[in-house]
Each structure stands twice: as C-alpha cells, then as structure tokens.
C-alpha cells in the first residue's frame, strides 16, 4: 500500500514537471502558406513582434504582363533561434489579419529561394546583423494595373522560455505597375520550368524555351558573386535553346541567366539558381522489408531461446541439486577424498 502511494506521487510529480510546448524549432517546412496566426504560426496574442528590417526589391524598374522577374526580400536585425531558422513569406498585403500567397494576386512562383515553387521558405541565417536575402523568380500577372506585394518574417529567439514565435511584415508593401507587354518582347515561354538541382559532378544540359527571341546568350557564375562566364548556346529547334552548365565537385550553387534579343528588343532573365546535391538515398523496398523482417525474427528467436534456456536451467535437477549444496560447500570443512590420490 505504501509503495503504491509512493508510485502515485512519483507519477503525478513527473506529469506536473512536463511543460506544454508549442514551439517548432525545426521549422514548418517550405510550403504555399498564407500569413496568419491561425494557419502559419502559433503566435496568438502571446506572440512576439520581430525586430527585423524587411526590404523588398525588384530586379528592374518596369514590369510587363507575363514577364519573368525576380523579387528579393532582404531581412536583417531579427532575433535568431538556436538553429537560426528564418521563414519568409512573399504575399499580398495583410488584410483582415491575413496575407495571402502572392499567387492569389496572379503571380506565379517559378523558383523560390530553396529551388521549389513556394511562397513561404525557411533558411538558416548565420548573422542577424548581416541578415539574408531571399530571392523569388516569379512570372508577373497577365492583367495590367497596380498590384502590391508584401513580405513577412517568422522566426524564434534564443532563449525562448515562453516558446513563442516572432513575426513582422515589411510595413511598406511594394506597389508595382504591371504594364502591357510590348509586341515581340523576347521572353521565356510560359510553360517552361527551370531545373533547380542536379547531382554533384553531373553536367547539366538545359533546354530553354523562348518566344520572339532570335538570339540567346547565356551567362553563368558560381554562387551569387563568382566571375561571370559565358556558356555555348545552340538552337535545338525553333524557340528552343540548349546549353550545358559545368559540373561542380561539391554542393555549390551555380546561377545562370539568358539574354534574349531580336532586332527590336532585348530582354535579360533573372539569375536562376542550379544547386548541386549529393546523390539521394536509394533503396530497394523489397530488400528493406526482408531485412527488417529477418532482424525481427532473429531477435525474437534469440529472446525466446534465452527464455527457454533459463526455464530449462531452473528446472534442471542437476542444477537444482548443485544450488542446494552450495551453502553446505561454503560451510563445510575441507575434507580428503576417501580414495583421493595425486593425479598423474
């Protein structure tokens, strides 16, 4: 009875020691997300206001309908969690507490900062003061007129005893006038999608599809600040251009852009990013199931064998006899065997 009371007190104490936690220090993952506390964070009224400075920039001054451009969001000055993970939303300006994905206002995300096509991405940031730049390549809406885009940040803090998220919007949505596309403006085909990654050590041939382009030149560089090199471009078919980017020996990023022209107009694409990744983990699932099942059966066989061995030992008459004589052996005086003699 006393033991059961002690156990009950121990269990209750352990239960009270566990604090509720809502934090997501590993992040939420890249996704198409609306910026709202109900959907994208666990801030609620107990959330924190981020100290971040958020600046939104375009790579050009004029934007035409359906044009491929890049939008950069520079964030700095924010608090950082232990992992330094920072999430950034590219979205419509906040209305009724919700900032919707930029795709709700007609934009199409072609390449996000992590190589996907999401409006919310997370990246580790090393230094709060230096901050980081998140660059999206997007296709402009097909409708003309003024559109506004905004960005928001979502991150933790270290230490974070209250386990709350910190967030902020830029406070100054960027207004962009979408102009009608000029006739014959060289451009990337609306159906074309960039390749965002390849294996380390692998050459990458890219087939670029264009419209109204008579010549195409391609430049590439390592990372975002390497020296700019030219790639050899061949016309594979009408409106299809082929070029090969060199392999890398580590997980370095290459970035490339195309300069398209016709006798009347020229157009330069944003810098697309091509990441080099290690070969994926590939396994035959049938082999895995057999291996797992084999290990399970082996462990069961060993465990049952041990049980049976112990049961048979405990029931062994010889062993029982031996055990029963042990105290006598300890207590008895050493004796000389009746027929004892030296062993030769």
């Amino acid at each position: 009875m006393r033991i059961s009371r002690i156990l009950l007190v121990m269990v209750c104490t352990l239960t009270l020691l566990v604090s509720p936690s809502l934090a997501k220090p590993g992040g939420q993952g890249d996704a198409d997300r609306d910026f709202s506390c109900a959907d994208s964070c666990h801030v609620g009224e107990s959330g924190g206001q981020s100290s971040a400075t958020i600046i939104i920039e375009l790579d050009r001054t004029r934007v035409f309908t359906g044009q491929t451009i890049s939008i950069s969001v520079k964030v700095s000055g924010m608090e950082l969690s232990k992992k330094g993970l920072v999430g950034v939303f590219l979205m419509t300006p906040v209305s009724n507490g919700v900032g919707k994905s930029i795709e709700h206002s007609g934009w199409t995300v072609i390449q996000d900062p992590n190589g996907g096509s999401n409006n919310f991405v997370e990246k580790p940031v090393l230094s709060s003061s230096q901050g980081a730049t998140f660059t999206w390549i997007v296709r402009a809406p097909s409708e003309t007129g003024m559109v506004s885009i905004d960005a928001a940040i979502h991150h933790g803090i270290d230490p974070n005893p209250d386990e709350i998220a910190y967030q902020a919007t830029s406070g100054q949505p960027l207004s962009i006038e979408i102009e009608p596309m000029p006739d014959d403006l060289p451009r990337i085909s609306a159906d074309w999608k960039p390749v965002s990654n390849r294996m380390i050590g692998e050459l990458m041939t890219i087939n670029l599809e264009t419209e109204d382009a008579e010549t195409v030149e391609v430049e590439w560089r390592v990372g975002e600040s390497g020296s700019v090199q030219s790639a050899e471009v061949t016309q594979a078919a009408s409106g299809t251009w082929s070029f090969t980017l060199p392999a890398t020996t580590d997980e370095a990023n290459l970035s490339w852009r195309a300069m398209m022209s016709n006798p009347a107009l020229e157009e330069t694409t944003p810098w697309f990013t091509l990441s080099s990744i290690e070969p994926g983990y590939d396994i035959d699932e049938v082999a895995l199931f057999m291996q797992s099942l084999a290990f399970g059966l082996l462990v069961a066989a060993m465990a049952i064998a041990l049980q049976r061995r112990l049961v048979s030992s405990s029931k062994s008459p010889e062993l029982a006899k031996l055990v029963s004589t042990l105290p006598e052996l300890e207590d008895s005086e050493p004796t000389t065997p009746a027929y004892g003699g030296e062993m030769s």
């Binding site: 590993g26 035959d284 699932e285 082996l298 049976r308």
Partner: protein, 191 residues
C-alpha cells in the same frame, strides 16, 4: 478521404501510448518482483496492465508501419531515418512477440523467478526503448529535432543489404525461429 498521414498519426499514438504504458508497468513489476517474495495486489495489477498494453501496442505497430510507408513523402523510403525506423519497428515486434510468448506460456508467476523476471523485464524495457526510439526518429524526420539529441546522429546512417543478402538473412532467421520453437523444450506454466 482520410490521408495516410492522418491514419499514421492515429496508429502511432495508439502504439506509443500503449507501449509506453507497457514499458512503465513492466519496469515497476520488475522492481516489485525484486522486493516481494509473494506478489502483492499492485504487482498483479501491474502484470495485467502490462500484458493488455503490450498486446494493444503490438497490434498497433504493424498499422503504424503500413500507414507510415504510405505517408512517406517522395518516392518511398528514401531516407536513412525511415530505413532505420522500419528496421527498429520489426525488431520491436520481435521483442514484444517474444515478451508476450514468455508471459503467456510461463504465466504471471514467472516474476517470482529472479532470473526469468530479469530477462522478461529487461526484454520488455528494450522493446519499449525500441518503440520510443522510433518515435524520436519520427520527430527527427518531420521536424528536424529529436529527444535523443546528438545520440540520434548514428541513426542518420544505415547499412542496407542487397536483395540477395536480405533474402538469405530472412531464411536464416526463419530457420532460427523454427528451430527455437520446435527443438528447444517448451516452457510450462510456472506454478
């Protein structure tokens, strides 16, 4: 339509809840068996609770495995963490199967034999540890964090056999289990 991910959450919660209960009750039953000459009422309750929880948990583990495979993102089990989760899941099934076999064949009085109690108790706790490790690997996979902290690092790597080697190992494992079950003397209920 309910997604495989949702079903996996249900199955894992069933498995983890029952297995955690089984692990705790087995540990307490082992402690009592080391203190008590004759089992108290609490010892009997712990023994029954552990048996029921182990059966429920063992039933839920295969459900968790199959829903987990269906819910895995990408092309199948393309991550060492998922690989190790699968291996540990079947090892846990093996250990729990052996634990139940021992408990059901030898009866509740096995706890009064010290060596058998130690074996049964440690086996149950190892099986429980396997399942809890699987759960922390799930956290590592989906959220990038694990209760095991740096100890989970080795589980980010795996040693995968080829199909031929795996088939041979499976045959050897089946042979070992059949040999143990048929050739070793069957334990009787301890009175």
């Amino acid at each position: 339509m309910i997604g495989a991910g949702t079903l996996h959450v249900v199955a894992t919660e069933l498995a983890i809840g029952n297995i955690a209960l089984a692990g705790a009750t087995i540990m307490l039953r082992l402690l009592l068996s080391l203190r008590e000459e004759t089992p108290s009422k609490l010892a009997e309750i712990l023994d029954n609770a552990s048996l029921v929880a182990a059966i429920a948990g063992l039933t839920a583990i295969p459900l968790a495995i199959f829903t987990g495979v269906a819910a895995a993102p990408g092309d199948g089990l393309d991550d060492p963490l998922l690989f190790n989760k699968m291996i540990l899941s079947w090892i846990a099934i093996g250990l729990w199967g052996a634990w139940l076999h021992g408990r059901l064949t030898m009866g509740p009085k096995l706890w009064q034999n010290r060596s058998l109690a130690w074996t049964q108790g440690l086996m149950g706790m190892a099986a429980c540890g396997c399942v809890l490790t699987i759960a922390t690997l799930g956290g590592k996979f989906s959220r990038g964090e694990s209760l095991m902290g740096p100890l989970s690092k080795p589980l980010e790597y795996s040693i995968a056999m080829g199909t031929g080697s795996a088939a041979l190992t499976l045959i050897a494992a089946v042979a070992a289990l059949v040999s143990v079950l048929w050739m070793m003397p069957k334990p009787e209920k301890i009175e």
